[in-house]
Symmetry: C2
Subunit: 100 residues, 2 copies
């Protein structure tokens, strides 16, 4: 599954587009964030991606979970939030969306 | 559907318990937040509620959306984030969880 890192300065509209593309191409996507503002940007992006895909009859949902990650040169341990984003009904080989 | 308002100062563990209880009792719950820190607390609470319910074989997911709300005496318009939280598979009249 493709992994998209979202930061506190990520643009929700552009990120929403990237999430929608990831769903179209691979059927699901992992969004990973560290920090409250990044969580907020990711949630807004997922809500925006829902809007993009709703037009194609696709209903997105997300599953949030904690994930321990190591960041930077010092490999410092941090607790990230991971969102697995998926359509409510499995896409059939991407072809259905590919035609839209 | 019950509505739970989460603020920037809400405790994620207690809120997670309230979400898990809402799911057990009504099958789904709406979590409403305004502002980045409240979004973060709500996401953490949903991740914690997932942990509580996973032990009962219930897999929670959430659907984020924007919602315009009016707050305070001045009824000022604000954009809230609404999370509809549901189990992946419908609970059967709550009886399955009630027995656990």
């Amino acid at each position: 599954m493709e992994m998209l890192k979202v930061s506190s300065t990520s643009d929700p509209t552009a990120t929403g587009g990237a999430i929608a593309n990831g769903i179209r191409e691979a059927g699901s996507i992992e969004v990973q964030v560290i920090g409250p503002r990044a969580v907020n940007q990711a949630v807004k992006a997922i809500a925006i991606a829902r809007g993009y895909l709703a037009a194609s009859g696709v209903d997105l949902y997300c599953v949030p979970a904690f994930k321990t990650v190591r960041v930077g040169e010092a490999q410092q341990e941090k607790t990230a939030i991971q969102f697995i984003v998926r359509p409510r009904h499995e896409l059939q080989g991407g072809s259905r969306l590919g035609r839209l």
